[in-house]
């Protein structure tokens, strides 16, 4: 299979460190100088389960509100990032998630809930069970806690998301005729897959 290219959108309110997450991910090796103005600044080739894929990270950092939808349209997978030190940053994600579902017209968009700044445990404002509960409510979306600063779990979230996209791709490819999207069995398979993935959800 040829090399797939996927767009991953990183979303989250300001100050949650989502750009750090992106920057950490795309600079896999220590680069003396990171130049975000060039074309490949946000692209990274990774291998997931033996498949070579290219990820292009779309980070809404710094852009106006109106262009968010442009990103969402382009994206196939979404990282919803909040800071574990701010409860409101988690709440704000709910709206973003709704927007994604609306734009994608899809309940099961590949998505990962990310609690960043796990290094600031002493300032934690979002209890882990709380975030986990929300991720469950969202349809068993995997929940990770990351530290962009310490580069903890950074690759993992992107790989998890990429895996979801690939799985979804395969599903869509294999069952192109079942447009009865409302029939429950279909959704159930999706759910059960999610559930199976549940235990892999790493919490550090």
């Amino acid at each position: 299979m040829s090399q797939r290219e996927y767009h991953i959108v990183v979303l989250g309110s300001g100050g949650v460190g989502k750009s750090c997450l992106t920057a950490q991910f795309v600079q896999n090796v220590w680069i003396e100088s990171y130049d975000p103005t060039i074309e490949d600044s946000y692209r990274k080739a990774i291998e997931v389960d033996g498949r070579h894929v290219i990820l292009e990270i779309l980070d809404t950092a710094g852009t106006e509100q109106f262009s968010k939808e442009l990103y969402m349209k382009t994206g196939q997978g979404f990282l919803l990032v909040f800071s574990i030190t701010s409860m409101s940053s988690l709440y704000e994600l709910t709206e973003l998630r709704e927007q994604i579902r609306r734009i994608k017209e899809d309940d099961n968009v590949p998505m990962v809930l990310v609690g960043n700044k796990s290094d600031l445990e002493e300032d934690r404002a979002v209890p882990r069970p709380r975030a986990f509960k929300i991720s469950q409510d969202w349809g068993n979306v995997p929940y990770y806690e990351t530290s962009a600063r310490r580069r903890a779990n950074v690759d993992e979230v992107f790989v998890d998301l990429c895996r979801q996209i690939i799985l979804k791709d395969q599903r869509d490819y294999q069952e192109p005729t079942s447009k009865g999207t409302r029939d429950g069995s279909r959704r159930h398979t999706g759910r059960s897959k999610r559930r199976r993935r549940g235990p892999t959800c790493t919490i550090l």
């Binding site: 946000y42 710094g62 734009i103 279909r186």
Partner: protein
């Protein structure tokens, strides 16, 4: 014939170089048999010859071609602290004459002499290094095992500077000559020399060391002479670049530049040798130099393996009988004779002389006794060759591995585990005591071997890894325990010696000890690995210690003597020394003695197809011969002296003033008389010239020696003149003389090329060594003093980009007070010399002036105002009265401004590149007339009075686009650079990025307005018309280069709430859709806005770029780049982190781009229309409907979702129930289905419905 065969074979093997890299064995016997394997096998002797020969069959393959390794060069930055860029030869190495003669020019193996310093470009895994000899500029392959890393802290900065220069020149050869149009790059060398002299306490002429030591004084002058000629060359290069486009002289100058730099460094190395040797005898404090002194030659004459060649040359065949270098010596001397044109006999005296004292031959008693070289420092631990980057150049199969530390470690560990495993196994079962004894011995020895390897790794590591040390100690303790346990057992079992079998129980303790030994060994090995990874792999010199072999032999020897086995006691076991002992016992060859044998493969031949890279290599072999000549006379005062400065034909007859009558120590006497100054200037220069003689310089001296012949008389006389110049008083006065130079600016331009000027240059305090340049020659990092220095250099106008970036961003890495203090410090330490001090002080004043005039930020900067004022009225006024007055005025002006006066804020965007702030006047004739009819104007007026409603449909799209662009441009042009720093615009509370935020809001408002105007209408036809109008406006925005508005409109048209209005879109013409598609490609987010970025590149202002891109870029520059970076070349813990100025340069670059578009549009404003637009925007903004959710809801009301598959005839809200609309419906639904295929689920209807 033989030669031919050999060569042919070499060529053949060369082809496979990449596949099977050459395996060099350190063991002299093996290597030698490789060497002679084909020609004279009989010469191989000894027990190992057969084995080694069989090995040799598969080993021969030349190193990688220089070309390939060269390509990798940029990846080996000097920033890697552990890999040394420089090697120093401590053995002679001359490729065999046969091969070198047969290949001649294409031979790429360079001969090296003891003491040569080599700039390493790459190291092949086989141990050959592609290097350039600093002494000759010759490039080629050389054996690393003949060399040692050269990285003395004193000279490190200079070496780093040379590496940097070399990289620049290499880039220059590829056509990138930009950096040479300025002389900044030479400053690194100057700073390096300065640092070097400072560290050796020889900076000033009247330093006690310089006064006391004639040799050092001369070397110092020579060094300055070299430096001056380097500066001169750089200047010449600059001139050529400025005037001449022809590349030929440029490349000549580049070669010259490199050669001069090499020469300079070579001399510095010699200087260091002398210094290291003699400074001690003069009982000067050497400080760390003692610890980190440059590699010493093995001067332990008791050890035959380290007898350098010089001795063998002298001894002739005598020394040969004991070692096996008989064939060599004759050969080597033959080469020497050939290559140095019969000067081989003069070589020993040269070595004897102080020039190479540090590398003095072992037979010389002095050097043997030198307090500087304690035997330990020459111990085995130091005597391994370095194979830089070896671990990175990829592992290859072959026996080479044995010499690599990592492989050794593995080997030692494996054999240890093997033995200890069988040891434990033995105890678990019961065995005969004899067998047990043997195994115990084997285990202990293996353990010792492992410890020895670990020890060596530890020794090798400059940082002396503590964990490793601990692990080693632990392991050692365990080993001792094990030995003790074994001992105990044997002593107890001695009573019943008759028993053949020991009970397993009795071995319990032993097993436990062994197990803990294994555990600690594992720990130790892993720690050692970490260290190897950090410092890079290296090769052991004492390669003869093929571990497993040795162990077996060792065992064979020790086995009979049982009592030896418990030997290892902590006190008696210094591991490093133990190892060689073992080797000696077993009669294993010692660390390869390159001088005594030929451990090296046949010199490498490179085929014609793979010539050497175009390294500056101006000297053919004959040149070498000539150039070596002047180096022979060891006496500095020699009449054959070659003069540097003598190349100046314009020199006055210097012998007329042989002795500079040093005048009254008042410098002012001379400043007024240029003639006398010039006189002395030349006399001084000649004196310096004569010093140069003492330097061995092979290639670059060639041309000088020619010139030198004609001028030798001058040199001679002037040489004499130097000698009386010893008294401190005279030195003082000459110092005064120095500062009297450059009293006039013309004189300066002449003098700047001169030694004295360089000397003054050097006397400056500088932080240049704390500055980092990137590959483009831009400053990428530095400490604050270093950056300030860069800001205020005297020899060149500071780079505008740099200055701008500095002004813009300095508050991010320092405080205004700190900056002011740093500038004042610079003012202080630069002094008031005419040549350097005054220009620098003026620049310091200018920096203050620029800051206060154009970059003053009252909020943050006012704290420094007091400091600046004190400086202005104090020091500055004393030194430069006018400047002081002006600066004081400025400080009060700034205060006034603060008190309420207007700041011309536009000044702060002076950094705009190239575009002037053309003030727009509406009356300008070029301004297009507004497209606005009378009735339209009336409509606007009516709308304002609330009498009527206007729609965007009522106006020309162009005019709408123009007026909105004007509104937006006003905001855009008022964005201040400060707003874009440190993510200021993202701050939720108290953000000072008012304009950025306002603009962002405006764009959002526009997007909302688009959605609002469309979703306001119930009739799909009308909606379609509105969409069409917006597309037209968007097109006009594009024509106006207003990308920000374009983006907002397109995004809004593309938003889900508009895009899902399928009935509406059906009514939009294909033409409009096609146009929209075009616009969409421009605003595509893919590939990091590649299309948009491409368009913005070199775009002509006025233009409103999509600000979001800049904001994203700035965000990622901020989070993706560290605030500090490490100074290169400093290893490990002593590395200094400095400001990562690269980050700020990047920030400034982006802001500069944004600023470059901050040009007002030349368009006539229609205030009425703008007012109407603003009122519309205000209406949208103030309504609580201006959010995505409510728009989406409205969208759903207008065109409700339809259940897929079910085609509903007419939805309630659809009033377009014509047959055409119905068919449109059908089509929509089929399209729906199609989309569902893409997304697989679209079952959100229930949710959506609930939302409604």
């Amino acid at each position: 014939m033989a030669d031919f065969l050999l060569e042919k074979e070499e060529v053949d093997k060369h082809a496979s170089a990449l596949v099977a890299p050459l395996n060099i064995q350190k063991s002299p016997k093996r290597s030698r048999s490789r060497e002679y394997g084909h020609i004279r096998q009989s010469s191989s002797r000894g027990t190992h010859s057969i084995k080694s020969q069989s090995q040799s069959q598969s080993q021969i393959s030349p190193p990688l071609t220089p070309r390939t390794s060269r390509e990798g060069l940029p990846d080996q930055p000097p920033t890697q602290p552990v890999f040394h860029n420089y090697l120093r030869a401590f053995y002679h190495f001359h490729p065999s004459s046969t091969v070198s003669s047969s290949t001649d020019e294409s031979s790429i193996t360079v001969p090296i002499n003891q003491g040569d310093v080599i700039l390493v470009h790459s190291v092949h895994p086989n141990g050959w290094a592609d290097g350039t000899l600093l002494a000759s500029g010759a490039r080629g392959w050389l054996p690393t095992n003949y060399c040692e890393a050269y990285d003395h802290p004193t000279i490190r900065n200079l070496l780093n500077a040379l590496t940097h220069l070399w990289d620049l020149v290499r880039d220059g050869e590829n056509g990138d000559l930009m950096v040479f149009t300025k002389q900044d790059y030479v400053r690194g060398m100057i700073a390096g020399v300065r640092f070097f002299l400072e560290r050796t306490q020889c900076l000033t002429r009247d330093s006690s060391l310089i006064l006391a030591h004639v040799g050092l004084r001369r070397m110092r002058k020579g060094l300055l002479g070299d430096l001056s000629s380097l500066v001169k060359t750089a200047k010449k290069l600059q001139e050529i670049l400025e005037t001449n486009e022809s590349s030929v002289p440029v490349f000549e100058q580049l070669d010259e530049l490199v050669l001069r730099s090499f020469k300079l460094v070579t001399r510095a190395v010699r200087f260091l040798d002398i210094w290291a040797q003699d400074a001690v005898s003069l009982s000067f404090d050497l400080g760390e130099a003692l610890n980190n002194r440059p590699p010493t030659p093995p001067s332990d004459s008791a050890d035959p393996s380290v007898q350098p060649q010089a001795l063998s040359n002298q001894n002739g065949e005598d020394g040969v009988s004991t070692n096996d270098y008989a064939p060599l010596v004759s050969q080597e001397s033959a080469i020497a004779t050939q290559e140095e044109s019969g000067s081989a006999t003069t070589q020993p005296p040269r070595n004897l002389h102080r020039l190479s004292v540090a590398f003095s031959i072992p037979s010389e008693a002095d050097s043997l006794q030198s307090p500087l070289f304690p035997p330990q420092s020459q111990g085995q631990s130091k005597r391994f060759s370095v194979t830089h980057r070896l671990s990175y150049t990829g592992k290859s199969q072959g026996l080479r591995k044995q010499n690599l530390a990592s492989e050794r470690l593995d080997g030692a560990r494996d054999s240890f585990l093997g033995f200890i495993g069988s040891f434990i196994g033995l105890h678990l079962q019961s065995r005969s005591s004899e067998e047990l004894t043997l195994t115990t011995q084997q285990s202990v020895i293996a353990c010792q071997q492992l410890l020895a390897v670990v020890e060596e790794i530890w020794e090798r590591d400059s940082r002396r890894s503590e964990p490793l040390e601990q692990a080693r100690d632990t392991m050692y303790a365990r080993l001792t325990e094990l030995v003790q346990a074994t001992k105990d057992m044997f002593s107890t079992s001695e009573s019943n010696i008759g028993e053949e079998v020991l009970m397993p129980d009795s071995g319990k303790q032993l097993v436990a000890a062994a197990t803990s030994c294994v555990r600690s060994a594992g720990d130790c090995v892993s720690k050692a690995r970490v260290v190897i990874e950090r410092i890079g792999d290296f090769e052991f010199e004492n390669a003869g210690l093929g571990l497993s072999e040795t162990i077996f032999e060792q065992i064979g020897q020790i086995a009979p003597e049982e009592d030896d086995q418990p030997e290892p006691q902590p006190e008696q076991q210094p591991e490093p020394s133990k190892q060689p002992e073992i080797t000696l016992e077993t009669d294993k060859p010692l660390p390869a003695p390159p001088a005594s044998t030929r451990p090296l493969p046949p010199p490498l031949v490179i085929s014609e197809s793979k010539p050497l890279p175009e390294v500056p290599l101006p000297s053919p072999p004959e040149d070498n011969r000539v150039s070596l000549q002047p180096t022979q006379p060891p006496i500095v005062e020699s009449p054959t002296a070659v003069s540097f400065r003598s190349s100046r034909s314009s020199l006055p007859p210097l012998n007329q003033l042989p002795i500079p009558h040093l005048p009254q120590p008042c410098p002012s006497d001379h400043t007024q008389s240029p003639a006398s100054a010039t006189h002395r200037f030349f006399s001084k220069s000649t004196r310096t010239d004569s010093v140069n003689v003492s330097v061995t310089d092979s290639s670059s001296t060639y041309r000088y020696s020619m010139r030198g012949d004609t001028n030798s008389i001058h040199s001679q006389t002037s040489t004499r003149a130097t000698t009386p110049d010893q008294s401190p008083a005279k030195a003082q006065s000459s110092q005064a003389l120095v500062s009297s130079f450059g009293s006039s600016s013309e004189l300066r331009s002449v003098a700047s090329e001169d030694v004295t000027a360089v000397e003054e240059h050097l006397l400056e305090t500088t932080f240049l060594h704390e500055l980092i340049y990137n590959k483009e020659g831009q400053v990428s990092g530095g400490s604050l003093p270093a950056l300030v220095e860069q800001l205020t250099t005297h020899e060149s106008t500071p780079d505008a980009v740099f200055v701008n970036a500095f002004y813009l961003t300095f508050r991010l890495f320092t405080t205004p007070v700190e900056l002011a203090q740093c500038l004042i410090d610079r003012f202080d330490y630069v002094g008031d010399s005419q040549l350097v001090g005054v220009p620098v002080r003026l620049r310091i004043y200018n920096v203050f002036k620029g800051w206060l005039e154009s970059h003053w930020a009252p909020d943050s900067d006012s704290a420094s105002l007091g400091l600046i004022l004190t400086f202005a009225t104090g020091k500055l006024r004393t030194a430069l009265p006018a400047a002081g007055k002006r600066l004081a005025e400025l400080t009060s002006k700034v205060t006034e401004v603060r008190a309420g006066a207007l700041v011309p804020r536009l000044v702060s965007s002076l950094g705009k590149t190239g575009i002037s702030n053309a003030v727009f006047t509406p009356s300008d004739s070029n301004v297009p007339a507004p497209i606005l009819t009378k009735s339209q104007m009336n409509a606007l007026k009516a709308s304002k009075e609330g009498r009527a409603q206007c729609s965007i449909l009522d106006f020309d799209p162009m005019e709408l686009a123009r007026q909105f662009t004007l509104i937006e441009s006003k905001l855009y042009c008022s964005i201040l650079p400060e707003e874009l720093l440190a993510l200021e615009w993202t701050k939720r509370n108290g953000s000072r990025a008012a304009n950025v935020r306002a603009m962002s809001t405006l764009s959002n408002d526009l997007a909302n307005l688009v959605a609002d105007t469309i979703l306001l209408l119930e009739d799909p036809k009308k909606r379609a018309v509105i969409i069409k109008q917006w597309v037209k406006i968007a097109i006009k925005c594009l024509e106006l280069n207003n990308y920000d508005s374009l983006m907002a409109i397109i995004c809004s048209l593309n938003s889900s709430m508009v895009l899902r209005l399928k009935k509406t879109w059906e009514l939009v013409s294909a033409k409009t859709k096609a146009r929209l598609e075009e616009l969409k490609t421009i605003t595509d987010v893919g590939r990091n806005y590649a299309v948009l970025r491409q368009r913005l590149q070199n775009h002509v202002a006025p233009c409103i770029p999509f600000v979001g891109i800049y904001l994203t870029d700035l965000t990622f520059v901020d989070v993706g780049n560290g605030t500090t970076r490490q100074l290169p070349g400093e290893s490990g813990c002593d590395s200094v982190s400095v400001i990562n100025f690269d980050k700020h340069m990047k920030t400034a670059k982006i802001i500069g781009q944004l600023q470059s578009f901050q040009v007002p549009y030349r368009l006539a404003a229609v205030p009425e229309m703008q007012e109407w637009m603003e009122s519309q925007i205000h209406r949208v903004r103030s309504s609580d409907q201006a959010n995505v959710q409510s728009y989406y809801r409205r969208s759903l009301i207008l065109e409700p979702r339809e259940p897929p598959q079910v085609v509903k005839a007419s939805p309630p809200t659809s009033d377009a129930s014509t047959s055409g609309a119905l068919s449109a419906d059908n089509r929509t639904n089929s399209k729906d289905r199609f989309e569902f295929l893409n997304f697989s689920f679209s079952s959100t209807n229930s949710i959506k419905d609930r939302q409604i």
